[in-house]
């Protein structure tokens, strides 16, 4: 298996993980809207995934970078920048006291990220298969 295939295999796995995390986010946020969960619990649950998610995504970008996958790197870079900016401004965490005021925002962001990860996932899958095919 070529290095390219390995890299994209990694991308597929990580991409799937991120996808699941986002789906989880979306589910919990909509739970909050219909009052299945209270804001404190929601924030406790979500906040433990925020940093890992950002880290994993940044790490994946880094892997793409060192393996010379420029398209994948460029595709991921804006999100990394956005995340870094959020962390710098300390706005990355869910705040139970503000959650109802910012719910719409959070929801929108979640959906956009979900779409992003979904596209990424299929792109990595495609590249992986491509690499495997060209290997053989």
């Amino acid at each position: 298996m070529s290095a390219e295939a390995m890299v994209f295999l990694f991308g597929v796995i990580v991409g799937a993980g991120l996808l699941f995390v986002k789906v989880f986010f979306v589910i919990l946020i909509s739970d909050l809207e219909v009052d299945y969960i209270n804001p404190i619990e929601l924030c406790n649950k979500l906040n433990q995934f925020v940093i890992p998610e950002m880290f994993v995504q940044a790490f994946m970008t880094f892997i793409f970078l060192i393996s010379g996958q420029w398209i994948a790197t460029l595709w991921n870079l804006p999100l990394v920048a956005y995340n870094v900016n959020k962390v710098m401004n300390e706005k990355h965490m869910f705040d139970p006291t503000e959650i109802f005021r910012t719910l719409g925002q959070h929801k929108k962001e979640c959906f956009i990220k979900l779409g992003f990860y979904l596209l990424s996932f299929f792109y990595y899958l495609y590249r992986m298969i491509l690499a495997l095919v060209s290997d053989s």
Binding site: L32, E33, V34, D35, Y36, I37, N38, P39, I40, E41, L42, D95, P96, T97, I99, F100, R101
Partner: protein, 1153 residues
């Protein structure tokens, strides 16, 4: 965990605290209030109300059952099912099931069990839980257990067949709620019914409502209106079924005695509907009323019937009005309030309002007016002048500030909206007011008008002398809609001969508890029309045990006193100790359960053991700030009565104990954690008296004030919390019913923005004393007064507030001090008196109903240890006309809501944005008014016009722009700004308006009766416009903004005045600054002292305004401060009032609306 919870037969003291997960087990007894209120959320745990009736809803209990059950027995019988419930409930409650809420529970499933449950057959009771989680057995049997004894078995069938009765309790939906122990826990599990407790008799609710009626000797089923003794009374004044405008009626005896206002008050009360005084005559009109509200689907069974007594009236008016609801609001009717006031000169030349359609049909109008009894006053001739009166030109005239005291526009509900004609059937504006007293029927109309739509609620306002106390329903019959959990209120409709009531929020039919008509205790029929909840919009219920998850908590006061060097130095410690000592008797302690504790903080945390056993208080010092622990498991919080001697000894010595301290460290963060550990098991109040910046341990803060940031867009970072510690702490506290109050004494920067986070999310209060030094007796007095007042407040504890509204509107944003726990549920560990909350309302769908209701339920534990529910119901008419919308807008409420929104914006974004938003809102409103309401709909106008009732809004907006809270510039320290913002978001309208637009009196030439005690207490002078033009040479002026009082002495003041007022020979010897007026024998001095005294207590607020004497040529800072309150003047860089209007006009003319 739920089973575990359910298990303890008698929940001990707050058993639910053990599982720390907040969500799982909300510590609060929110079962009642927290029930999802939105129509979409149908479900809820069983609740008492359901318990009253549910069995009957869908079921046909065989008649014989009724007779056969001995009441006490059955109480026991239904219980055996309980132990199983929790599990089953749980299953049912899991999320999947929650999904079920979308589908109506299948009747077949649910009905069968019910009779059994109701009947109390033990075997059946077991099955029940499966079938419906809300199972009736859980439902607490009506507390007035025996009541339905009067079982008239026959009634059921008719009820059942009601097609529209969706009758079934809905599946649980919200985990929040689900996880709550079923109310049954309390009753059922206990299995020890207090035999005497009526609550335990499940039988009661089976009683057919009409069974209860026999006393009336009327066959209920046929004529919808049973004859009641009052029939005659109704006839006496038929026209009154129009609800009299409550604002006017209830206007409390005016507190501001300036003659005009006083006069106003008296005139206003004139139209009070009846010569019969306040005692409203109950009347039964449900059949007709019901007609107007029926939605076709469910009204099938309803048959209008003729009221024997008042046919003539209702028959004639009602039918017309049914369809007319929306047209009902007549702009002209406004004059009710408008006319009484002296018509300002500038109003005479008004341009008639072109766009204002005259309301539909004169005959109807006069009809209504007649019905309201309002038109009878002289000069109220309904000649259409109302329309012309309602537009005023703004420019070129001084704002008519006296109208700030005017009552809000009348709420003109369609005739017969209220089932009783009580003058108290709609909410008093001091409790709850809406920015719009007529509600647009579509969100498009609201958008078009650009008016903000929201509510301003002060649910726990203090009741001063002369105010009517809140009526209390003592019999714990709490009738609530089984679907949306709305409490029964004067705007429901009784149908089917009064056996059912139709919820005015979701239009579900509900059984009327039979005890509404029959009192089981006395075996007498009672008159339901006398019930307080049907006559009063503001009512309090004594809640039965279903509304508690634990016994009502006692009051707990834990003082966290800063004893570091700065605190001791400024005298705060000594003053606080003395004040607390003196207030010990005033702390509410009705049941002798109140607990008290003291922690002092410097670089370590000092605890005091106050147990009664030890004569001397013992002090424990904990210097481990990383993991603060409690040195003793108990006795740190002590019963106030028992530990009184020890406590007094401690307080007496406190100022000496630390007087030589040199420690400048302060470990507030760790101390808060320790305090939380102490109080959390019970819940209570933590009062932090903090005179230095916390700088040790977690929660340490830095001096971050940076003058370079002030006035820039980064300024709002200073208004946000510096550390997340306090927010996290606040969330924990809110969970455990702990409320934190902050008393901040800053000689330097004290980071009000960060420290006030704790009160903001725990329902607390913040008090800020900049540059406090007890050496100044005025400072000490102010602090001592406010602390004592605060301690003696009869606060509410462990409260939950939910606001429900008629289908179609929902609450979208909340402003105030609380924690938002779910989309419409506010958690308030404490409710201080007179704190105000603003809520923004938005549309979900268009409204095609004539009346929209907003109901606030505040479930709380009163200071006397009773669990109570305070319910505020506000009903507002719906309109489709823009002109009505404008004519009914309430400028005071709008200003309050805008102030809250602006503060929110200023904190989270930029102050510039907040100011722009305010001005833009003003431009929008004026622009829309110009385009749609006036003749000059297009093109530039020479003048700005607005409806009469909104004419002061530009002034109030300008006042906000110029206020410390929002003003631009780099001069305002962020502490002061944060505190002003805090006040903006918590002051009730009454104070906030003065805070924005201070009152300004001329004292040297006030009329002779001012400052003397007149009919309405102390007479106040007439307030003047806030402009320095009014400052005459040689004059003495007073300005007060509810936080401070300024006496302006002109430098040409004659010696006589100085002598009379200050007791000094001439102007030069007057001392400026914070001061106390001497009490002299002179008439003038006494009058001014009375006026100052009156100013200090005329508002509902714990604040004690401080008096400053400003000399015209004195301290420039003071002088500027005073002048900055004169908001109609130009104060660079902000425009004067007239410039501001010009600015608005330019924008209006250049924009399109």
């Amino acid at each position: 965990m739920r089973p575990a919870q359910a298990a303890p037969p008698r929940p001990g003291f707050r058993p639910q605290q053990q599982p720390p997960a907040f969500g799982q087990q909300p510590p609060m007894p929110q079962q009642s209030i927290s029930r999802p209120g939105t129509p979409g959320q149908l479900s809820g745990p069983p609740t008492p109300q359901q318990g009253f009736r549910p069995p009957m809803n869908g079921t046909q209990p065989p008649p014989q059952n009724f007779g056969s059950r001995p009441p006490p027995l059955s109480g026991g019988m239904s219980r055996p099912g309980f132990p199983q419930d929790p599990n089953q409930m749980q299953n049912a409650m899991r999320r999947p099931s929650a999904g079920g809420n979308s589908m109506p529970p299948s009747p077949s499933m649910q009905r069968p069990p019910m009779p059994n449950g109701a009947i109390g057959s033990p075997s059946m009771a077991h099955q029940q839980p499966h079938l419906q989680q809300n199972g009736s057995p859980l439902q607490r049997p009506p507390s007035v257990g025996g009541m339905q004894r009067a079982p008239s078995p026959m009634m059921r069938p008719s009820t059942l067949s009601q097609p529209g009765s969706p009758g079934m309790p809905r599946p649980f939906q919200s985990p929040q709620i689900q996880t709550r122990p079923p109310p049954g826990q309390f009753m059922g599990q206990g299995q020890q019914p207090h035999p005497g407790s009526p609550a335990m008799r499940p039988m009661g609710h089976n009683g057919p409502p009409n069974g209860a009626m026999p006393g009336y000797g009327q066959s209920q089923s046929q004529p919808p209106t049973p004859k009641m003794p009052h029939q005659q009374q109704q006839q006496q004044f038929p026209p009154q079924n129009q609800v009299p405008p409550p604002q006017q009626l209830q206007q409390p005896p005016t507190q501001f005695q300036d003659p005009v206002v006083a006069n106003l008050g008296s005139v206003n009360s004139a139209p009070v509907p009846t010569p019969h005084g306040g005692a409203h005559k109950p009347k039964r009109m449900y059949p007709q009323g019901a007609g107007s509200y029926q939605d076709p689907a469910s009204s099938g069974s309803f048959q209008p019937a003729v009221l024997p007594g008042n046919t003539s009236l209702q028959g004639s008016t009602q039918p017309q009005q049914l369809n007319q609801g929306s047209q009902f609001f007549v702009p002209g009717e406004n004059q009710g309030s408008g006319m009484v006031q002296p018509v300002p000169a500038y109003q005479q030349g008004l341009q008639p309002l072109a766009g204002q359609p005259l309301q539909p049909n004169m005959a109807q109008l006069s009809n209504q007016l007649g019905a309201m009894n309002v038109g009878s006053g002289p000069g109220y001739g309904f000649s259409g002048q109302g329309t012309s009166q309602s537009t005023v030109a703004l420019m070129g005239v001084a704002p008519k500030i006296l109208d700030l005291e005017a009552p809000p526009p009348t709420i003109n509900l369609p005739t017969g909206s209220s089932i009783t004609e009580s003058p108290y059937a709609n909410c008093d504006p001091s409790y709850k007011r809406s920015t719009l007293n007529a509600i647009p029927n579509t969100s498009q109309l609201l958008q078009k008008s650009r008016l903000p739509f929201g509510l301003v609620i002060t649910p726990y306002r203090s009741v001063k002398e002369g105010d009517a106390p809140v009526p209390v329903v003592t019999d714990s019959i709490i009738a609530r809609c089984r679907r949306c959990r709305t409490y029964i209120n004067p705007y429901v409709k009784f149908v089917e001969g009064g056996r059912r009531w139709k919820c005015n929020m979701c239009y579900t039919l509900n059984q009327v508890p039979s005890s509404f008509d029959y009192d089981p205790e006395t075996q007498q029929p009672v008159d339901r029309w006398q019930r307080k909840e049907l006559n009063h919009a503001v009512v309090e219920y004594i809640a039965p045990t279903e509304y508690m998850v634990r016994p009502p908590q006692p009051l707990v006061y834990l003082f966290l006193i800063d004893v570091s060097y700065p605190a001791v130095q400024c005298g705060m410690v000594a003053t606080a100790a003395t004040t607390i000592l003196e207030s010990l008797d005033r702390i509410p302690n009705d049941e002798g359960r109140t607990k008290i504790g003291i922690i002092t903080i410097d670089s370590s945390i000092h605890f005091y053991k106050l147990s009664s056993a030890a004569a001397e208080p013992q002090m424990f010092v904990v210097s481990d700030l990383d993991e603060p622990f409690l040195p003793q498991p108990q006795d740190l919080l002590c019963n106030l009565k028992e530990c009184r001697p020890t406590l007094e000894a401690l307080l007496n010595r406190m100022s000496d104990m630390f007087k030589d301290t040199q420690i400048i460290g302060n470990a507030l963060g760790p101390a808060l954690q320790a305090a939380y550990k102490m109080v959390a098991p019970i819940g209570g109040k933590v009062l932090c008296l903090q005179a230095s910046l916390p700088n040790l341990g977690s929660g340490a803060l830095k001096m971050r004030e940076d003058p370079k940031l002030l006035g820039t867009s980064k300024e709002s970072t200073l208004l946000q919390a510096a550390s997340s510690f306090y927010k996290t702490m606040a969330v924990d506290c809110s969970k455990s019913q702990v409320c934190v109050d902050m008393f901040l004494f800053g000689s330097q920067y004290s980071d009000v923005a960060t420290l006030s986070c704790l009160p903001r999310y725990t329902g607390g209060s913040t008090f800020f004393y900049p540059a406090f030094t007890a050496a100044k007796s005025e400072d000490a007095l102010k602090f001592a007064h406010e602390l004592a007042e605060f301690l003696s407040q009869r606060i509410a504890l462990e409260a939950l507030m939910r606001i429900r509204a008629s289908k179609g509107v929902r609450m979208s944003a909340f402003y105030g001090n609380f924690f938002v726990r779910s989309t419409d549920l506010l958690a308030l560990p404490n409710v201080p008196r007179d704190q105000s909350y603003s809520i923004e309302v938005s549309y979900e769908e268009n409204l095609n109903i004539p009346v929209v209701c907003f109901q606030t339920g505040l479930l709380h534990t009163s200071a006397s240890g009773e669990r109570r529910i305070r319910v505020l119901t506000l009903a507002l008419p719906v309109t489709s006309s823009l002109s009505e919308l404008y004519a009914s807008a309430d400028q005071v409420a709008i200003a309050t809501l805008l102030a809250n929104k602006a503060v929110e914006r200023g904190r989270s974004a930029k102050l510039d944005d907040a100011r722009d938003a305010l001005t833009n809102k003003m431009v929008d409103i004026l622009g829309v008014y110009k385009t749609h309401m006036t003749a000059s709909s297009s093109g530039a106008t020479p003048n700005l016009q607005i409806s009469d009732n909104l004419k002061l809004l530009p002034l109030l907006t300008l006042g906000m722009l110029k206020h410390v809270a929002l003003r631009g510039g780099s001069q305002i320290p962020s502490d002061l700004r944060s505190y002003a913002m805090y006040l903006f978001s918590t002051l009730p309208s009454q104070c906030l308006i003065s805070y924005i637009n201070p009152k300004f009196y001329s004292l040297h030439n006030m009329p002779g009766n001012c400052g003397t005690i007149g009919e309405n207490g102390i007479e106040m002078p007439v307030s003047m416009n806030l402009s320095s033009e009014r400052l005459e040479r040689g004059g003495l002026f007073m300005l007060e903004d509810s936080q401070n009082i300024f006496l302006w002495v002109s430098k040409d003041a004659v010696p006589q005045l100085c002598m009379d007022l200050f007791g000094v020979p001439n102007y030069e010897s007057i001392r400026g600054g914070k001061t106390t007026l001497p009490a002299l024998e002179t008439d003038f001095n006494q009058r001014v002292n009375l006026i100052v005294g009156k100013t200090r207590e005329m508002r509902r607020t714990p604040y004690y305004p401080q008096l400053y004497v400003i000399k015209e040529d004195g301290d420039p800072a003071l002088r500027l401060w005073f002048l900055s309150h004169l908001i109609e003047d130009r104060a660079d860089p902000i425009m004067s009032y007239h410039q501001y209007l010009g600015h608005l006009k330019d924008k209006v003319n250049s924009g399109s609306f």
